[in-house]
C-alpha cells in the first residue's frame, strides 16, 4: 500500500435536500464491495417525523462515519480496526477475531459480522456470487471503508477522490441525486470543503464526541420539529444481538469468579480462611472465570484467532483482560506450588485487576447507552465483589469450612449490597443524561425495583439476620443471602447486557423544513401578483 498522506482528511457531505432514498448508493456499495445478503455497509433510512396532519419524511444515508476519534478503534483487541492518517477507518479481515467489540462500540450501528454468509437464493452460491465471494470476511467485522482501495488506486493513478468517480467511494460516485459529495475535508479548495463551507450542516450524535466525518446539511433547516421518535423509527436503536448470553456468562461467571478470588484472598490474608479453603475457593474462582471465558470464546467469529486478541494491550481492555487472566492463572498455579500470603495476595490483586478489566470492557462500548456510563464500572466491581462474597457465603453454608467467617462475611455482604443500592441510582441518572433510549430505559426502569428489593435489600436483611443469629441458622441465612447476591448479579447483567442493550439512537439535530401542516415550508417571499 502506498504511504497515506497525513495531510488529507477524507469525509463526506450529505445533502438532505437531495437524497430521495432510492438505495442506489446502497446497492452500488454492495456491488463495489461484494457484500452478501443482509450486509449493507451503506444504507439509507426512511424516517418519519411528527404526527398527522403535521408530518414530514426524511431520507438519511448512514454507515461508518470514519470518526476522528472512532470508538471502535481503541477497543479492538486484535488491531484489525485502525484509523489511517487520512482519517479512513479500515478493517483487516485477516487479523480480526470477530469478537464484535467494535460493533457494540460504534454509536452509529455501522458494523456487521456475518458468521455464515449465504447466497441470495440460499446456501448454494450462483456463479457470480461464487466469483465475488470473500471468505476472509466470514465471522469478522466489516463495514464501510470509504472504498479505500478505489481511493488508493485512484491516487496512485493521479486521480482526485471526490472529483474522479473511479477514485471516489462507489456510493458517492453512483448517487443519482448528487446527494453525497466525498473529498478531502482538509483541502479548502476541494468540492466537499467548499460545499460544507457554504452549508456547514451538522453531524449524527455529535455530543458523543466521536468526531464523525459524514456531515449532513440542508439549506432550510426546520427549527420546530419535535424529534420524538416512535419505537418503529429507524433512528431508534434496537437491541444489539452480537453479545448474547455467552457474553453474559463471561461478565457473570468471570465477574463473580474474580470477585470470589479477591474476597477469598482478602479473608485469607486476614486469617479468616485456612490455606486449604483458600486454595479450594481459588480453584472454584478459576473454574468460574474459565467457564466465562470459554463461553465468550464460543461467541467470537474466528475462534482459531483467539490469540490475536493479545495484540492491542495499549488501548483495548479486552487485550488487557487476556493478559491479566493469563497472569491470574499463573498466579493461581504459583499459589498451589508455593502457598503463602504473597501468592494469595497476588491472586487477589490480579483477580481485582481482571474484574476491573471487565468493568472497563463494558463501559468502553460506546455504542450501547446502557453500558457506557462510568457508574457501570463501579457497579460491575461492586457486584463482582458482592457475588464473590455470595459464593463464599454459599460455599460456607453448604460445606462449612470457616465457622468464624459468618459475621465478617455478613458485614461484607451488607456493605456490598449497600454499595450496589447506592450505585444504581447514580448509574440511572448518568445513563439517562447520557442518552439512554426509550427501550433500554423501560428495561432498566423495570429492573431497578426488583434489583433494590430482591437483589440488595433482601440479602442485606438476611445477612443482618445472620449476624444476629448463630450456628446453622446463621450459616443458612448467610448462604441464602450469598445465593441471592450471586443469582442477582447474573440476572442484572443479563438484563443490562441483553435486554437493555439497545444501540445508540441516531440523533440529527437539524432536519429540512418540509412536510405537511405546521411543518410545511411556506414561501419565503410574500405572494404578490404583479401586473403582466
Amino acid at each position: 500500500m502506498s504511504a497515506v498522506a497525513a495531510t488529507r482528511r477524507w469525509g463526506m457531505a450529505i445533502d438532505l435536500d437531495r437524497c430521495v432514498g432510492c438505495q442506489t448508493c446502497a446497492v452500488a456499495c454492495k456491488h463495489a464491495n461484494d457484500t452478501p445478503l443482509g450486509i449493507q455497509w451503506r444504507r439509507v433510512l426512511d424516517v418519519e417525523l411528527g404526527k398527522f396532519p403535521d408530518v414530514a419524511r426524511l431520507f438519511l444515508p448512514v454507515g461508518c462515519q470514519h470518526c476522528d476519534d472512532p470508538p471502535c478503534v481503541p477497543v479492538c483487541p486484535s488491531g484489525a480496526t485502525r484509523r489511517r492518517a487520512d482519517g479512513i477507518v479500515t478493517q483487516d479481515y485477516d487479523l480480526c477475531i470477530g469478537c464484535g467489540y467494535c460493533a457494540v462500540s460504534c454509536p452509529y450501528g455501522a458494523r456487521s459480522i456475518d458468521h455464515a454468509p449465504r447466497g441470495y437464493f440460499g446456501a448454494a452460491l450462483t456463479r457470480q456470487e461464487g466469483a465475488v465471494a470473500h471468505d476472509e470476511r466470514r465471522g469478522v467485522a466489516q463495514k464501510c471503508t470509504f472504498c479505500v482501495e478505489r481511493i488508493d488506486r485512484g491516487l496512485a493513478r493521479g486521480l482526485v477522490p471526490g472529483v474522479d468517480p473511479e477514485a471516489t467511494p462507489a456510493c458517492a460516485a453512483a448517487c443519482i441525486a448528487g446527494a453525497m459529495t466525498f473529498g478531502d475535508l482538509a483541502d479548502p479548495a476541494s468540492p466537499v470543503a467548499r460545499l460544507l463551507a457554504a452549508n456547514p450542516g451538522t453531524v449524527l450524535n455529535g455530543p458523543l464526541g466521536a468526531g464523525p466525518n459524514l456531515r449532513y446539511f440542508t439549506r432550510a433547516p426546520s427549527a420546530d420539529i419535535a424529534l420524538a421518535m416512535p419505537a418503529t423509527s429507524p433512528l431508534t436503536g434496537r437491541r444489539q444481538r452480537r453479545w448474547d448470553i455467552r457474553a453474559v456468562a463471561n461478565f457473570g461467571l468471570g465477574g463473580s469468579g474474580s470477585g470470589l478470588a479477591a474476597v477469598a484472598s482478602a479473608f485469607g490474608l486476614f486469617g479468616l480462611l485456612d490455606r486449604s479453603a483458600i486454595l479450594l475457593l481459588h480453584l472454584l474462582a478459576a473454574g468460574l472465570i474459565a467457564a466465562g471465558l470459554t463461553a465468550v470464546w464460543f461467541e467470537i467469529g474466528r475462534m482459531e484467532r483467539l490469540l490475536n486478541a493479545l495484540r492491542r494491550p495499549r488501548s483495548s481492555w479486552m487485550s488487557r483482560e487476556m493478559y491479566v487472566v493469563g497472569a491470574l492463572f499463573a498466579a493461581l498455579g504459583a499459589e498451589w506450588l508455593w502457598p503463602g500470603p504473597e501468592s494469595t495476595g497476588l491472586v487477589g490483586l490480579l483477580a481485582l485487576a481482571f474484574l476491573y478489566c471487565q468493568a472497563r470492557i463494558l463501559t468502553a462500548a460506546k455504542g450501547i447507552p446502557a453500558w457506557r456510563p462510568r457508574a457501570m464500572r463501579w457497579l460491575l466491581l461492586a457486584s463482582g465483589l458482592a457475588e464473590g462474597c455470595g459464593w463464599l457465603a454459599l460455599g460456607n453454608a453448604l460445606l462449612p469450612f470457616a465457622p468464624d467467617l459468618t459475621a465478617p462475611l455478613g458485614l461484607a455482604m451488607i456493605l456490598a449490597a449497600a454499595a450496589l443500592a447506592t450505585l444504581w441510582p447514580i448509574y440511572w441518572r448518568e445513563a439517562v443524561a447520557g442518552g439512554l433510549g426509550d427501550g433500554a430505559k423501560r428495561e432498566i426502569a423495570g429492573l431497578m425495583p426488583a434489583m433494590l428489593g430482591i437483589g440488595q435489600v433482601l440479602p442485606a436483611m438476611l445477612a443482618a439476620g445472620a449476624l444476629l443469629a448463630s450456628g446453622l441458622v446463621a450459616l443458612a441465612l448467610s448462604g441464602i443471602a450469598g445465593a441471592i447476591l450471586v443469582v442477582g448479579g447474573l440476572c442484572w447483567k443479563y438484563a443490562v447486557i441483553v435486554d437493555a442493550s439497545h444501540v445508540q439512537d441516531l440523533i440529527l439535530p437539524q432536519v429540512p423544513r418540509r412536510g405537511s401542516g405546521r411543518l410545511a415550508a411556506l414561501p419565503s417571499e410574500p405572494v404578490e401578483v404583479r401586473p403582466s
Binding site: D17, V27, A28, A521
Partner: protein, 914 residues
C-alpha cells in the same frame, strides 16, 4: 495456479423502466458478469450523468438467478388454471420452435383473422413500451406476419398516465408531461411520484432544482417519496384533484383580477380563448373559409383566427354572424347572434368551483388552495423572457404535473384539462421553465414531436383522431379492445392498441356487451416481459381468462403467474445477454431531456448460464420456418426493429431472401444508424459500438420547447375550449346509438367543450351498490405507489432488490395511518386483510403518520403465487381488489388505480423483523 480471468468493462444500456434509457458498464471476468457500475464515459452526455438507478444493479443477479427457465419447456397438463400443475417438461429449441411454428402455420392456413374479424394471433408486452428495447427484431416478425391483436392489456390504462397520454398529445404533443425542471422554480405535483419514478434523469434534475431553490408542493393522500422531498405536502382526499385544480382556476380567473394575473398575449394569440362560441356550443366560423372567428376590438368586428387581429377580445359577449359546424356536418347559420368568447364561457363555467367549494370536496382548507394558486401566479413571472440557443423565449418557471390515479380513469380528463389550462393562463405551456411534453407515441413521426406539428384550418395542431363520422367510423372492431371504434383520441399508431381500453378484451371475454361482436380467444397468444395475471386490475379474473386461451407462448425468464398458463416457455436472452441497438437522446419520457441524440448498444456481458436465445434469432427462425423471411427482412429494412437500414443516401439493407444472423443484422443497423446520425461522415460497425457503447451528436435545447414551433407555424394551443372533442363525442354517440349500443353512454358524457366537475370520489364509493353491496362496508381508499426499486423492473423475484426495497417503508407491508390502525386494533407488523367488492389481499401493517386516516397504500404490484422468491413475500397488492367494470372506465378507456376497501386485522403470524 491458473491465470486470473481476463477482465473487461462491457457497455450496455438499461431500459427496464420508461424513465430510461440509462447507460452502464458491466464488469466481466472471463465469462462471468460480476458487477454493475455507471458509465462515466457518457457522464457529460447523459442527463443523469451516466448513472443508473438501483434497478440496474439487479441485472447481474437477474442473469444468474437459479430460478430462471433454463431451456425451452412444454406443458404436459392440458388443463390450465391457477390450481393446475402445468407439468412443464424440457424440450430442445428445435422442438419448441417447431411446435410454435406449426401452430402459427395452422393459424395462417385458417386465416389471419377469425370469423368475427379479430386477429387470430395476439401479443402482449408490458412496461410502457420498454420491452421493445429488448425484443430485438421481433417487431419485424410481427410486421411480416400481418394483423396481430396487441390490445390485450397487461397494465395499460390502469397503471399508466392514460389521460395525459391522449389529451397531452392532443394539446401539446405530450405523451408524457414534465416540468422544465432545470429552469422551473415552482412545481405543483398532484400525486406524481417524481422522485421514485422519473428515473435517473428525473431524480438528478429535481435534486439539482431543489438545491437551487425549486419549491414543489405535493398534493396527494399519502406522504410518498416525492412528497417527502417537496416543500409542502397537502394530504388531499383521493380523486378530488380536479376540484383542487378547478378551484385554482377559479381563484385566478374570478377571485383575482385575471387581467393582472394572466399572460394576456399568450391567451389572446396562442390559445383559443378569444374564439367566439355560438349558441350551440361550437365555434362561430367564417361562412366562407369556415375558420373560427375572433372579435377584434380595434375594428369592432370579427376576423378569422389567422387574420391579422389588432386587439383580440378575450372576455366578452358580442353580436356577430357566422356559422357553427356541429357533429356529422350539421351546420347552423347565424346572421347575427349573441356569442361569447371561449374565455368568457370558461369564466362562467368555473364560477361554481370556488376554493370554499373545493375545500369541502378535497378536504383541504380553502386558504391553502388560495395560497397555492397565488404562489403559482407569482412564480410564473409573466412577462419575463430567457434566451435559449440564441432565441428569446417566454420564461415561465411554473409547472403542474399529475400522477397515476390522478390522470387516468374518471377525473383524468378534468385534471389534465385543468392542469394544462393553468399553464395556459400564465403562458407557461411549452416554454422554458414551464410545462413541457417529452415525446409522442400517437402522432407521427414518432422520433420528432416537432415534425408532428401540422396545421388545421382552425389554427390548431392536426390530430389523428379515429374517425367518428358515418363514412369513416369503424363500426366493427379490428382488434378486441376496439380502440378505433370507441376512443377517437387513441389514434391509430403502433402504440394505439395499448392506449385504448386495454382491459375490455378481458372484460368482454367473460361477458360481452349487447350488440357487439363478442371477442374470441386468440388462437395463439405471445406474452413477453409482462405478467397480466398479477399486474392488471381484477387479476384473478384475468388469470381465469388467460387459462382459457388455447395456445400461449410465453417468453419466460422464471416461472410466473401468467406463464403458469403457457403451453410453451421460451427462455429468451436476458438484459445482459441479448444484442440490440436503440435510439437515445432528444427528449424522452419521463424526464429525459438530452442535449445529444444518438444510439446505444446492449450486448452480451459474459456467457449466459442458461440455454437461452436472442430475440432476434428467435424472430428470424420463426420467420424462416413460416416462409416469412423476405417480408421479415424487408420489415427490418424499413425500420421495424428500430433502425431503418435504408435512407435517402444510404442502403445497408438486408438481402430479403437471405437468412441473416443476429450479429449481421445489428451490424447493418449500426452502420445505418451511424450513417444517418452523421450524414455518412462516421459510419460505425457493430464492433465499434460494442467497444464504445454509444454514439451521439448534439441536439439543441431549443427543441425541448414546442412553443417556437407553434409560433413559426402560426398555430395556437387548443385550450381552453374543446370543440373538436365535443364534436367527436357527439358523432361517436350518434354512431353507437345507431348501432343500438347504449353501454358506452356514460363515457360519452365526458366529451364536453368545458368539462364539468363530476364528484369523482362518489363513482368509486357508489360502485359497491352496482354489485349489490353497501358502500359503508368499504370505508377506506386503497391506493398504490410507484417504487424506485421495482417499478417496471420485472425484478420482483430478485432478493437483492427486495433487500434494498425493505429499507423504504411500505415495501414489506400495507401502509396504514397509525391512529386508524390503533382504532382497528392493528399494531405494527400485524397481519391485515383488505377486502373490496371483488377480492381480498393479505399483508402486514406498516404504521405511518404520513397518510390520510381514510387511505391505505400498497406499494408496487405483488400478490405473486407462482414466481419464485416473490411468491414467498406475502405482500398485499391492490390489483386483485380492483373491479374491472365499464362503469369504472372513462371515455379514453382507462381506469383509476384505486378502489374502496375494508381493512381489518387478519390471521396468521406477525411480520418477522429482519
Amino acid at each position: 495456479m491458473s491465470a486470473a480471468p481476463e477482465r473487461s468493462q462491457v457497455p450496455v444500456y438499461c431500459y427496464q423502466c420508461v424513465a430510461g434509457p440509462d447507460l452502464l458498464k458491466v464488469e466481466v471476468a472471463g465469462d462471468v458478469a460480476l458487477r454493475v457500475a455507471p458509465n462515466f464515459d457518457c457522464a457529460a452526455e447523459h442527463p443523469g450523468g451516466g448513472k443508473v438507478c438501483v434497478k440496474a444493479y439487479g441485472l447481474v443477479q437477474k442473469t444468474y438467478n437459479p430460478h430462471r427457465i433454463r431451456q425451452p419447456m412444454m406443458r404436459t397438463n392440458p388443463r390450465k388454471g391457477r390450481d393446475q400443475d402445468p407439468g412443464f417438461v424440457p424440450i430442445s429449441w428445435d422442438e419448441a420452435l417447431t411446435l410454435v411454428a406449426d401452430r402459427l402455420r395452422a393459424v395462417r392456413e385458417q386465416g389471419l383473422v377469425d370469423e368475427r374479424g379479430y386477429p387470430r394471433l395476439a401479443a402482449s408486452f408490458g412496461g410502457g413500451g420498454t420491452p421493445t428495447q429488448y425484443m430485438g427484431t421481433f417487431p419485424a416478425f410481427l410486421s411480416a406476419w400481418g394483423p396481430v391483436d396487441l390490445g390485450f392489456g397487461s397494465g395499460q390504462g390502469v397503471k399508466c398516465y392514460h389521460s395525459e397520454h391522449l389529451y397531452g398529445e392532443l394539446w401539446h404533443r405530450a405523451f408524457i408531461v414534465s416540468p422544465d425542471t432545470p429552469l422551473c422554480r415552482f412545481v405543483l405535483s398532484f400525486g406524481n411520484n417524481t422522485d421514485a419514478s422519473s428515473g435517473v434523469a428525473g431524480v438528478a434534475r429535481h435534486a439539482e432544482a431543489r438545491a437551487r431553490g425549486l419549491r414543489r408542493i405535493q398534493i396527494e393522500p399519502h406522504l410518498s417519496i416525492s412528497a417527502a422531498l417537496a416543500s409542502e405536502w397537502v394530504p388531499i382526499r383521493p380523486k378530488t384533484d380536479a376540484a383542487f385544480l378547478y378551484a385554482m382556476l377559479h381563484r385566478i380567473l374570478i377571485e383575482r383580477d385575471w387581467r393582472i394575473c394572466c399572460d394576456l398575449p399568450f391567451l389572446g394569440r396562442d390559445t383559443n380563448a378569444p374564439y367566439l362560441v355560438g349558441p350551440n356550443g361550437y365555434f362561430l366560423r367564417d361562412p366562407e373559409s369556415k375558420k373560427p372567428l375572433v372579435w377584434d376590438q380595434n375594428g369592432g368586428c370579427t376576423r378569422p383566427q389567422d387574420a391579422p387581429i389588432g386587439r383580440p377580445l378575450l372576455d366578452g359577449t358580442v353580436r356577430a354572424g357566422g356559422v357553427e359546424i356541429g357533429p356529422d356536418g350539421q351546420v347552423w347559420r347565424h346572421e347575427e347572434v349573441e356569442v361569447s368568447t371561449a374565455f368568457r364561457k370558461l369564466i362562467d363555467h368555473l364560477r361554481p368551483y370556488s376554493p370554499d367549494w373545493a375545500a369541502a370536496e378535497c378536504e383541504v382548507p380553502a386558504d391553502t388552495i388560495r395560497r397555492i394558486a397565488d404562489e403559482f401566479v407569482t412564480q410564473a413571472r409573466v412577462g419575463e423572457t430567457v434566451v435559449i440557443d440564441g432565441v428569446t423565449l417566454p420564461y415561465r418557471p411554473v409547472a403542474v404535473i399529475l400522477g397515476k390515479t390522478v390522470n387516468n380513469g374518471w377525473g383524468g380528463f378534468e385534471a389534465t384539462w385543468g392542469r394544462t389550462l393553468l399553464a395556459c393562463l400564465v403562458g407557461a405551456l411549452e416554454v422554458p421553465g414551464g410545462t413541457l411534453g417529452t415525446n409522442v407515441k400517437l402522432n407521427r413521426p414518432a422520433d420528432d414531436r416537432h415534425a408532428t406539428v401540422t396545421p388545421t384550418a382552425d389554427g390548431f395542431m392536426a390530430y389523428p383522431f379515429n374517425a367518428t363520422d358515418r363514412a369513416g367510423w369503424q363500426s366493427k372492431p379490428h382488434i378486441r379492445n376496439a380502440y378505433r371504434t370507441l376512443v377517437p383520441l387513441a389514434a391509430n399508431s403502433a402504440w394505439s392498441p395499448a392506449l385504448g381500453p386495454a382491459h375490455l378484451p378481458w372484460l368482454f371475454l367473460k361477458a360481452p356487451p349487447e350488440r357487439w361482436p363478442a371477442p374470441t380467444r386468440p388462437a395463439v397468444w405471445f406474452c413477453y416481459r409482462t405478467n397480466p395475471a398479477i399486474s392488471f386490475w381484477d387479476t384473478e379474473a384475468v388469470a381465469e381468462r388467460i387459462a382459457e386461451f388455447p395456445f400461449v407462448v410465453a417468453f419466460a425468464y422464471t416461472r410466473d403467474e401468467t406463464n403458469h398458463m403457457a403451453d410453451i416457455l421460451l427462455p429468451e436472452a436476458g438484459d445482459l445477454e441479448g444484442l440490440q441497438l436503440i435510439p437515445i437522446g432528444t427528449t424522452k419520457f419521463i424526464e429525459q431531456f438530452w442535449t445529444r441524440r444518438g444510439w446505444a448498444i446492449r450486448q452480451p456481458a459474459g456467457a449466459s448460464p442458461v440455454d437461452c436465445r436472442d430475440m432476434t434469432d428467435i424472430a428470424t427462425e420463426l420467420a424462416r420456418r413460416l416462409g416469412l423471411l423476405e417480408a421479415y427482412n424487408q420489415a427490418i429494412n424499413r425500420g421495424a426493429a428500430g433502425v431503418a437500414l435504408k435512407g435517402e443516401d444510404y442502403d445497408y439493407g438486408l438481402e430479403p431472401h437471405l437468412l441473416h444472423d443476429r450479429d449481421a443484422i445489428w451490424d447493418r443497423a449500426c452502420r445505418a444508424a451511424s450513417h444517418a446520425l452523421t450524414d455518412g461522415k462516421q459510419v460505425r460497425d457493430l464492433a465499434w459500438f460494442k467497444a464504445h457503447g454509444a454514439m451521439t451528436v448534439p441536439f439543441p435545447q431549443l427543441r425541448w420547447y414546442l412553443y417556437p414551433t407553434l409560433k413559426a407555424k402560426g398555430l395556437r394551443f387548443e385550450l381552453p375550449y374543446q370543440e373538436r372533442l365535443l364534436r367527436h363525442g357527439s358523432e361517436l354517440g350518434n354512431r353507437l346509438h345507431e348501432s343500438g349500443i347504449a353501454w358506452w353512454d356514460k363515457q360519452l358524457g365526458e366529451y364536453q367543450a368545458l368539462p364539468a366537475y363530476k364528484r369523482f370520489p362518489e363513482i368509486f364509493v357508489e360502485y359497491a351498490r352496482e354489485v349489490g353491496r353497501d358502500p359503508a362496508e368499504f370505508p377506506f381508499w386503497a391506493l398504490t405507489a410507484r417504487s424506485m426499486q421495482y417499478s417496471w423492473g420485472a425484478n420482483a423475484g430478485l432478493p437483492l432488490i427486495d433487500e434494498m426495497a425493505r429499507n423504504i417503508a411500505g415495501h414489506s407491508g400495507v401502509i396504514v395511518n397509525a391512529d386508524t390502525a390503533a382504532k382497528l386494533g392493528i399494531a405494527e407488523g400485524d397481519p391485515v386483510e383488505i377486502e373490496s367488492v371483488v377480492g381480498r389481499t393479505h399483508g402486514h401493517a406498516t404504521l405511518r403518520q404520513g397518510i390520510r386516516p381514510d387511505t391505505i397504500v400498497m406499494i408496487g404490484q405483488f400478490d405473486h403465487w407462482a414466481m419464485p422468491v416473490a411468491k414467498d413475500f406475502g405482500r398485499a397488492s391492490l390489483n386483485p381488489l380492483m373491479p374491472m367494470a365499464l362503469s369504472l372506465t372513462d371515455a379514453t378507456g382507462s381506469g383509476s388505480d384505486t378502489v374502496r376497501v375494508a381493512l381489518r386485522r387478519g390471521s396468521g403470524p406477525r411480520r418477522a423483523e429482519p
